[in-house]
Symmetry: C2
Subunit: 193 residues, 2 copies
């Protein structure tokens, strides 16, 4: 699959904002089973191999896992402060958990686990997120094994079907829509900001 | 109505991140009529008078107006980079448009219009946002009157019923849930990060 045309503006934005560690923080919106939206910050962990799919990590016990079972569609909002531009990526989320029956995806899961920092790995051994805090619960920075992936550790792959790129700099502002066609080609349209 | 208990941590975060102009940028998630989530950056414009309602501005022609007619529930995700903390505010959106029959709300609408910069006001006179760009369309920085509010100009008031505050700093991280009760009192609970 060739690189989608929105990959180059995202790569440029990542490069120009690289002095800000948090330029890889994006907001992921899902829909809860009750039909209300949910929204949280997640860390962009690169694209999956040669695809246009964005990679995130998550804990199997987190609420977004429940959300995506009923509604896999999501929208990622990615604002780059330095260059003042926003990408809105609309697409589907796929879960890669310990139960996923696909060798390539399990390979991705264990490789991503190994690439995590010790502190990031430790979080997957913490007490259930979102539950009332038990003062005796363990939140220690214990070091789970680098090779044995904890069952709570999951990957989310986000496969965009449309991307809306807004550049606030410029007079007037520029806005570009990218839409994936049924044959997987991408169409690029300049739209009003 | 007294200040909700999450107002003080938000005020503190705003103060500590005040060197970043974009610390007032938040991501607003809504649900589209087709059931998919939508997510975009909006600017926090303060609280409405003595309430706990967040104020945003929007264009009547924007997609989020369509979204909130069918699903007024939204979630605001607010990440503060300097202090590394996130607030997730869940609640309902109310629209204040030229058709709103409420003197106080119309007063709010015209006051907010007057407080906008010239450039911000000009955007409401631009060609329809999201439509295919017409190279002849006007995006000039013309200056709409300070006193005559353009019909496209709307206010969104967001009334939270729960707030989830996550502080990434600290070992372990801290997470606090604030939940509004049916009698409008707020309950504060420490939860697992």
């Amino acid at each position: 699959m060739p690189l989608a045309p929105w990959r180059s503006p995202i790569a440029r934005a990542l490069y120009r904002n690289r002095s800000l560690a948090y330029c890889k923080f994006v907001q992921l919106a899902t829909v809860r089973p009750d039909g209300h939206p949910a929204n949280r910050t997640v860390v962009f962990r690169g694209f999956w191999e040669e695809t246009n799919q964005l990679k995130f990590i998550t804990d199997f016990r987190s609420q977004k896992i429940v959300d995506l079972y009923e509604q896999p569609w999501c929208e990622v909002c990615w604002y780059f402060p330095k260059t003042r531009e926003q990408f809105r990526l609309h697409g589907r989320l796929a879960l890669v958990s310990e139960h996923t029956q696909d060798d390539r995806l399990q390979q991705l899961r264990s490789q991503t686990w190994q690439d995590l920092s010790l502190a990031a790995r430790a979080q997957f051994s913490w007490a259930d997120p979102g539950e009332v805090r038990d003062l005796n619960a363990s939140f220690q920075m214990e070091l789970p094994s680098e090779t044995e992936v904890l069952p709570e550790f999951c990957i989310l792959l986000m496969d965009p079907i449309s991307v809306d790129h807004l550049e606030l700099r410029g007079d007037p502002q520029n806005r570009t829509d990218y839409k994936r066609q049924p044959d997987d080609r991408w169409v690029t349209i300049a739209v009003n900001p």
